[in-house]
């Protein structure tokens, strides 16, 4: 199994003219990218604008992407450059973090230093999503919860999770899938109850 095969298959489709495949890439990475950009700008709305610009730049530059690096690594660089340019052009001071630290977006110590400048309604909806997901995770059986947390929080591969949980890789895949299904069942109600933005992309 090749790493990044999932992204690469979507990228190849976009390169052949399938814009719908790019939607999937945006949906997958939008949160990570906004979080990354928020190291440079404090306002989430502004961070989203910069992330949007980065995605569009990436789309336009995609014919030059040959897959030598992972798609997210490539996208990460575009977002960093876009954020830096935005900060310079708006003459604002970036938040001082060690920007070159590898995987520093996974660091949690910086989160306490960020201002939460969300709008009231955005905050409510985000909190609703967050509480729904957290409640669903708490309700999961132990083996499913451990599998999904090891995957999403620790970033372990299925093979590593299998070694950790002392079970076959196929079981890990099944556990993670069932955990997601259980969470999604409750999350869908929230989205269909008023948000449903993602559905509009279809």
């Amino acid at each position: 199994m090749s790493a990044d095969a999932s992204d690469l298959s979507l990228v190849r489709r976009v390169q052949r003219g399938d814009k719908g495949a790019f939607d999937a890439l945006v949906l997958k990475y939008q949160h990570k990218l906004v979080k990354l950009v928020m190291r440079y700008v404090r306002n989430p709305a502004e961070a989203e604008d910069i992330a949007q610009e980065a995605f569009i730049k990436a789309y336009r530059a995609l014919p030059q992407f040959r897959g030598d690096s992972a798609f997210y690594t490539w996208l990460y660089r575009i977002a960093i450059n876009t954020a830096k340019n935005a900060v310079v052009s708006r003459d604002r001071s970036p938040i001082e973090y060690d920007l070159d630290r590898h995987n520093s977006e996974e660091s949690y110590e910086m989160q306490g230093r960020m201002k939460d400048a969300e709008t009231p309604e955005g905050l409510v909806l985000t909190d609703e999503i967050r509480s729904t997901v957290n409640a669903a995770i708490d309700a999961l059986p132990e083996d499913l919860r451990t599998a999904i947390v090891l995957r999403e929080l620790e970033g372990l591969s299925y093979e590593e999770i299998a070694a950790t949980m002392d079970c076959p890789v196929g079981t890990v895949r099944s556990r993670i899938f069932r955990a997601r299904e259980a969470i999604d069942h409750r999350l869908r109600e929230v989205f269909e109850g008023g948000l449903g933005r993602a559905e509009e992309l279809g």
Partner: protein, 216 residues
């Protein structure tokens, strides 16, 4: 939607699906709105589990990007427009190589034109012009002789036939195959005509003694 398909989607989201299966599922994902929405919710779950504070989970970012891209040309279409030009580009590396080869050839010819003598003869020819100049001055002072007596300034043709030490040694080594008279004449011609260019003085003496030895 089948459970197997959802399971594959989950594995694809984690980059844990086989590439061939990814290809098939990516095609469906790009067209199936329901599948795409589920894919988006998987991303939301991950963001919540990672406690990505400050990120608006309900952000309409993906929708906005999609709306902007509606006005963009499809990449495949843009590529096909560029295709004819891309097709002609095959000769560009060849043309570049031809230009480089031409420049190299011109450089070699120019260098040859700037270097009339071979390196071996150049060192030997370094002496005669100074000697010629001396002769010229002596002749001029001695009797007001005509300029036509002045030794030519660049005896390049002579420089090319200057016998080397190796040639003298060769003659000595093969002296048994020549008559004594011819051998003596040849060696004396070497020694008397260009003693400075036939090698060092010691080497000339050695050659003489060798020749005498061989003659005896």
């Amino acid at each position: 939607m089948s459970e197997e398909l959802d399971s594959q989607l989950s594995a694809m989201f984690d980059d844990e699906l086989l590439p061939q299966e990814c290809e098939l599922l990516a095609r469906r994902l790009s067209r199936d709105g329901e599948l795409k929405a589920r894919w988006g919710r998987y991303a939301v779950m991950g963001a919540v589990i990672r406690a990505e504070r400050g990120v608006r989970l309900n952000a309409p970012l993906a929708h906005r990007v999609s709306a902007v891209l509606l006005a963009e040309p499809e990449l495949g279409a843009a590529a096909s427009v560029r295709a004819p030009r891309a097709g002609l580009r095959w000769w560009q590396p060849l043309a570049g190589g031809a230009v480089a080869a031409g420049v190299a050839a011109a450089s070699i010819l120019w260098l040859r034109a700037q270097t009339p003598l071979a390196p071996a003869t150049l060192s030997a020819a370094a002496q005669p012009p100074a000697a010629a100049h001396t002769v010229s001055v002596v002749n001029g002072n001695a009797g007001g002789a005509h300029d036509s007596y002045v030794t030519p300034r660049a005896p390049a043709s002579r420089a090319l036939v200057v016998p080397s030490t190796e040639l003298a040694n060769y003659v000595v080594a093969h002296s048994m195959f020549s008559t004594p008279v011819a051998r003596r004449n040849l060696l004396s011609a070497f020694m008397t005509s260009e003693p400075g260019t036939a090698g060092t003085e010691d080497a000339s003496d050695d050659a003489k003694s060798d020749a005498k030895g061989n003659a005896q």
